[in-house]
């Protein structure tokens, strides 16, 4: 299938689309944590880097197959998600965000100082195993998993926690356990995304996973419409492709990108798809959407 893609698309488009797929997987992971469960996470890039380094080291040092490296990346990241989540998920709202932000910076500095990660020089020579076909398949699996998850008993308890933690607890939901599970699942997808990233770019440097990157992911899901899977997909697509489309303005590219973020937020404060139910848009009978539909997000 990759040969078909390369017939129609040049290497640049394939690279951009593969990157978009990787970001989609990671962003959907963050959407589960921040969008669905309402737990602020400002350290998503750190989880991506844990996955990226884990898979890269497994490929380079142990020479195990790519699938094993990817799974290990996901699991390792989920373990760190649990390790971080266990003490910090008791913190509420912004304080949780701040603790995850701190965690992200600590991870970056630790990777900069570790021998096995190559320190500030970075880790080079990772085999290029990520292909567009594989990423597309994984994106579909992720989307499907997210939809199934959200409509399960577990998913409903996540939404209940987002809407009102105390009420959810009164309904018999084990808050801590549910939150940590959501955190572990969300970070698992970040880890897989990181593994794919490592085997696409073939070079890792801790500086590429700073808090700026974490905020990029947050911007993806907030701009799309927090808590909505189509929203996360749309937001990620728009914001990942915007800098590519803006290449013609050269030096002013990131300036316009920044202003675009401000402008889009002011025009649609709830995100592009915030409060929009796609199923209703396509339904024959037009149901008047009221403002009371779940607004979503960390409050």
């Amino acid at each position: 299938m990759d040969s078909i893609f390369s017939m129609f698309l040049n290497d640049y488009y394939i690279q951009v689309l593969t990157m978009l797929g990787i970001y989609l997987i990671a962003a959907l992971g963050l959407n589960l944590i921040t969008g669905v469960t309402g737990q602020l996470s400002f350290g998503h890039a750190a989880f991506l880097s844990i996955g990226a380094y884990t898979s890269a080291i497994i490929s380079l040092k142990l020479q195990l197959p790519f699938v094993v490296a990817l799974l290990a990346a996901g699991l390792m990241t989920a373990i760190w998600g649990i390790l971080l989540g266990y003490p910090t998920l008791r913190l509420t709202g912004d304080y949780l965000g701040i603790a995850t932000l701190g965690f992200g910076e600590i991870v970056r500095v630790v990777f900069l100082n570790m021998k096995i990660t190559g320190g500030a020089l970075g880790l080079a020579g990772i085999p290029r195993s990520t292909s567009l076909t594989m990423v597309i398949i994984l994106v579909f699996i992720t989307i499907l998993a997210m939809f199934r998850l959200e409509n399960s008993r577990f998913g409903r308890s996540l939404i209940a926690i987002r809407e009102d933690e105390i009420a959810a607890e009164a309904m018999g939901i084990n808050i801590t356990k549910t939150k940590i599970t959501a955190f572990a699942l969300g970070t698992f997808f970040a880890g897989v995304g990181g593994g794919l990233y490592a085997h696409l770019i073939q070079y890792l440097n801790p500086q590429d996973f700073g808090f700026v990157k974490s905020f990029d992911f947050l911007a993806f899901i907030v701009l799309g419409g927090l808590g909505s899977i189509p929203g996360a997909i749309l937001g990620t697509t728009v914001l990942t492709l915007a800098p590519e489309f803006l290449r013609f303005v050269a030096d002013y590219r990131m300036m316009i990108y920044g202003l675009l973020m401000v402008f889009m937020m002011i025009v649609r404060p709830r995100g592009l798809l915030g409060g929009v139910k796609l199923s209703r848009l396509f339904a024959k009978k037009k149901v008047q959407t009221t403002g009371t539909s779940a607004s979503g997000g960390a409050n």
């Binding site: 701040i98 965690f103 910076e105 500095v109 905020f215 927090l226 300036m255 920044g258 675009l260």
Partner: protein, 290 residues
């Protein structure tokens, strides 16, 4: 020498505290983490350099000009990027702030180039001996300016009408509006004060480290934010305490041989403090209401 390191730490911490005050005051009133604040600090430093090199002004005039420029910038940013989002979800103004931060950084890179530029020579530095410790003229200037500004802030917040309005608005936004306080004006004023303090911090840091760069706001902003949270976000004495605490801890950490971990020290401290005191050292506990 321990006392020498502590003095250096306090100097560094005073600049963190100046930036942290802006974060904490804004958060106290509208619960917004103003991630563009680090960029205001950076622009302040550049305005200072500009005043000295282009207009040949002294340090005092340049400092005042940088503060004034940042007041205008801070108020404008609040008016156009945050005010329209005040009643929307909590994350919306945050994303707006990040967009602004990207914009300001790339704008400055476009104007001045990505390389750090040296801070112009404004005066002869001198070292004074105080018993076992040495203090430089620059350090004295930083400590004096920072203390004066913080004392001024304390006076405004405690005794001036608008300062009282600020405290009322941070206590209860809606009720203070009902009591006839013009909350919009209070918020503008808060941004004005916060931005001017950040600008002063920027000029002082430029003077201290003899370097100004378009990316200086990122790490400094993050650490100052750390200081604000550590001290208890929303609390003005907390931000001062947090700033000094992080400055001293960082300097001692570097002296203790952890220099490659320098940027992680503040965050490690922050996480440890948050685990034991979830709202920071001087923060009020959050009340959970059913």
């Amino acid at each position: 020498m321990l006392s020498q390191q502590i003095l250096n730490g306090i100097t560094l911490g005073a600049t963190y505290a100046l930036i942290a005050l802006g974060y904490t005051m804004v958060y106290g009133i509208i619960q917004l983490i103003n991630f563009a604040h680090g960029e205001i600090y950076m622009v302040g430093a550049f305005v200072g350099v500009f005043m000295i090199t282009v207009f040949q002004q002294g340090l005092v005039v340049s400092l005042a000009a940088a503060m004034l420029a940042c007041v205008i910038m801070g108020v404008t940013i609040e008016r156009f990027a945050y005010r329209p989002l005040r009643r929307s979800t909590r994350l919306a103004p945050l994303i707006s702030a990040i967009g602004l931060s990207i914009f300001l950084q790339t704008l400055m890179t476009k104007i001045k180039g990505p390389q750090p530029i040296p801070f112009p020579h404004v005066m002869e530095d001198a070292l004074y001996k105080l018993g076992p410790i040495e203090i430089s003229k620059v350090q004295i200037i930083i400590l004096v300016v920072a203390s004066l500004l913080m004392a001024g802030l304390h006076f405004i917040v405690k005794y001036v009408k608008i300062g009282k309005a600020m405290r009322a608005a941070s206590e209860d936004y809606d009720t203070s509006a009902l009591m006839g306080i013009n909350v919009n004006r209070v918020i503008s004023f808060t941004f004005a004060i916060g931005s001017s303090l950040a600008a002063a911090g920027g000029v002082l840091v430029g003077l201290y480290f003899n370097s100004v760069s378009p990316f200086m706001g990122v790490t400094a902003g993050l650490k100052a934010f750390c200081a604000a949270v550590l001290g208890g976000i929303g609390s003005i004495p907390g931000a001062m305490l947090g700033g000094l605490f992080i400055g001293v801890a960082e300097t001692l950490g570097i002296a203790g041989g952890f220099d490659t971990y320098k940027d992680a020290i503040a965050f490690t401290l922050l996480i440890i403090v948050l685990l034991f005191r979830p709202t920071g050292l001087l923060g009020r506990p959050i009340q959970k209401k059913v």
